[in-house]
């Protein structure tokens, strides 16, 4: 939980966009694009915890994959430690990428069922080469203790462990090469609620000890509130609101952020995924709206939201929001017509 503004940025995304082509049903049909991530810029300072929040399918994992170079962006840059990841020669790219690691959502498909714990955890070290088996074993035992497992587990297989224990194994593997940038892609959402706190605490302790920068992906706002220094709220591939976590929680501006927060606060912990305030499902990211991507479900939508793009605007220090209701329309499209509410019942608010 370091909040030191003077720290240098470790990861910068510049106007990152990722489109996935989808084939049309007919061969001569035009190829369509899934716009998984559109024009996302962010800066992650060294040592902080950066949260990415949003509903399923809004592009969180795609951002994570682009950050580690597993998905090639269609536009924009990924700059890690001052180097543009996708313009590096292959060897240098591999070398640099060793400083990043990832913890996966599903602890079942993230461990090879044919490997034992020693083989799983030591694999990155084995791949890097240059270590003797004795060194690797000593290191693995050290890590097992660090993540709360024991030396006895060394030759057991993933099937012998519970979800929480598997996640601990995954964490040990992620930190064996001392990365300084760790992406946790929904690290607890597949686990029993009872072990959430244990795993999160473990991650926090490790961050403290090893001085890592975290990107924390989640759709659980309570978790993000407690762990993250900075955050972005995403909807359909775009950033809706971003800034310091404290500022956003103290003063949530975007209707979408508001909806997410009320959903968390109003409903008891077991049902927190239900979004009572929003009608309808998240629309398809194929051919998303030209204007604000949220307008179809926004209770305050105005006619102009449909086609006038909403830029991110800094409304208070380190707090950005992309919403016409908050920022008003740009001068060239600020007409009464554009300001007519789309939904009659909410128009008076």
């Amino acid at each position: 939980m370091a909040n030191d503004k003077t720290r240098e940025p470790i990861m910068v995304l510049e106007n990152l966009s990722v489109d996935f082509p989808v084939k049309g049903a007919l061969p001569f049909q035009k190829r369509k694009l899934i716009q998984a991530v559109t024009d996302v810029s962010l800066t992650i300072a060294s040592g902080e915890t950066f949260g990415i929040v949003g509903e399923s399918g809004c592009g969180k994992s795609t951002i994570a994959n682009a950050m580690v170079g597993m998905v090639k962006p269609t536009g924009g840059k990924v700059i890690f430690k001052g180097k543009d990841l996708f313009s590096l020669p292959r060897e240098e790219f591999k070398e640099l990428r060793r400083d990043m690691q990832m913890i996966f959502q599903d602890p079942f498909s993230s461990l090879n069922p044919r490997f034992n714990v020693y083989q799983i955890i030591s694999e990155p070290m084995f791949i890097r080469g240059g270590s003797t088996p004795d060194e690797m074993k000593a290191r693995v035992i050290e890590l097992l203790k660090l993540v709360g497992l024991s030396e006895k587990d060394l030759y057991r297989h993933p099937s012998d462990f519970s979800g929480g224990q598997r996640q601990r194994i995954g964490i040990a593997r992620a930190i064996i090469l001392n990365p300084d940038f760790l992406i946790c892609d929904e690290p607890v959402s597949a686990l029993d609620v009872s072990v959430h706190a244990q795993i999160l605490n473990l991650l926090m302790e490790l961050q403290e000890q090893l001085k890592m920068t975290y990107v924390f992906i989640s759709h659980n706002l309570a978790v993000v509130k407690n762990l993250c220094d900075q955050m972005i709220v995403m909807y359909l591939g775009k950033v809706m609101e971003s800034g310091a976590t404290k500022a956003i929680y103290a003063n949530p501006l975007h209707p979408y952020t508001n909806a997410l927060l009320t959903a968390v606060l109003d409903i008891d912990i077991d049902n927190q995924r239900e979004r009572v305030l929003l009608e309808g499902d998240i629309p398809s990211p194929i051919d998303p709206p030209k204007g604000c991507r949220f307008y179809q479900r926004c209770p305050f939508a105005m006619a102009g939201c449909k086609h006038v793009a909403a830029p991110l605007v800094e409304v208070e220090p380190n707090h950005f929001v992309s919403c016409h209701k908050i920022n008003g329309f740009p001068a060239d499209s600020d007409s009464a017509e554009n300001r007519t509410p789309l939904r009659a019942d909410d128009g008076q608010v």
């Binding site: 591999k94 990832m102 498909s109 090879n112």
Partner: protein, 341 residues
């Protein structure tokens, strides 16, 4: 360069050891499974027969000079009698016939496993143009009528089991490659593969440590099932006279029995003997393959195994062979009816 080659060799050696270990593990599992044990015992028996044929067989099966001993019925000196045409000892022929069946079955099965695995892994893991090329080839192979081609090729290049094996392998890898490809597509997106990639793993590392071990169980199982299928197809081809004319095989024994008038003279044992040989060989390999599938896939119900045997035999190649065998049988029957009237 040399160090790299050494490392590659070492890796390859380790992989081979791993595969051997996997096979040993499977054999242990098979042994613990009652049905698998039956299959295993029969296969062992067949292998012993094939290797020690000269010691087990009481007579020289190639000896066609026994004029005095033609067409004998089973007795203690000739357990399954002798052939009507040349006086060869049928029991000895049966023992020697194991060799052709097993060699053709195993060599083909293993070659198909290798070729299918390589093609499937390349198609699935490398993808792109290689994938397209391989999958188009598979599609084309599937529509080539194999039996006429076999007849043409054997007539062109001489009748030999090498030719038969070659043809079996040429047309046999396609199905396996398809299955392996789809499994590889699943495996390569597994998060543990992505974790390895993040750590800087080379394609070779991922292929040898994650992908190949992930498909090895399928390969072993498939080899057993292909062996069974190939053995029955080989019998069919030998029956049609497309095998090596100088070797003794069960299929050829059947053809000789039919041509030599076994049915006419009521020498049913002459026909039953190679039939039992074929049955035992196919049945035992099939059993092993299916039990493996059951072990690997416990959710699958075992009751369907007979149905599965038929389904497995029901591929186009076998169908063609069976169809032509039918034709021949009908021909034989009408001839016989004509003679009697």
């Amino acid at each position: 360069m040399k160090a790299k080659a050494m490392r590659f060799l070492k890796l390859l050696g380790n992989r081979l050891l791993g595969i051997l270990r996997a096979i040993a593990g499977f054999i242990m599992k098979l042994w613990r499974h009652p049905k698998g044990r039956v299959g295993l015992i029969v296969v062992t028996l067949l292998v012993v027969c094939a290797i020690f044929a000269p010691l087990i067989a009481p007579y020289d099966p190639y000896d066609v000079t026994q004029r005095a001993a033609k067409g004998l019925s089973p007795s203690w000196s000739h357990l399954l009698g002798t052939t009507i045409t040349t006086g060869q000892d049928i029991f000895s022929m049966l023992i020697y016939g194991t060799r052709v069946s097993l060699i053709v079955g195993l060599v083909t099965g293993i070659s198909i496993a290798f070729l299918g695995a390589i093609m499937g892994v390349i198609a699935g893991y490398v993808g792109g143009a290689a994938d397209t090329a391989i999958m188009r080839t598979v599609d084309v192979m599937l529509v080539i009528p194999t039996l006429p081609l076999t007849i043409v090729l054997t007539n062109l290049f001489g009748k030999s089991y090498l030719m038969i094996i070659f043809i079996f392998v040429l047309f046999g890898w396609t199905g396996l490659a398809r299955v392996i490809r789809s499994l590889v597509l699943v495996l390569k997106n597994a998060n543990y593969v992505r974790a390895a990639e993040l750590a800087g793993a080379s394609r070779g590392h991922i292929m040898f440590r994650h992908i190949l071990p992930g498909v090895s169980h399928l390969l072993i199982m498939n080899t057993a099932l292909t062996c069974a299928g190939v053995m029955i197809a080989e019998a069919g081809l030998s029956f049609l006279g497309l095998g090596d004319p100088t070797a003794i095989s069960w299929g050829k024994m059947l053809a000789e029995a039919q041509g030599g008038g076994a049915l006419l003279f009521g020498h049913w044992w002459w026909i039953i003997a190679p039939g039992i040989g074929i049955f035992l060989a196919v049945f035992s390999f099939m059993r092993i393959g299916l039990v493996m599938e059951e072990i690997l896939n416990p959710r699958m119900k075992q009751s369907s195994s007979i149905y599965k045997i038929f389904k497995n035999l029901n591929n186009t190649y076998m169908e063609e062979v069976f169809a032509s065998m039918d034709e021949n049988a009908k021909l034989g029957l009408t001839l016989k009816a004509g003679e009697e009237s």
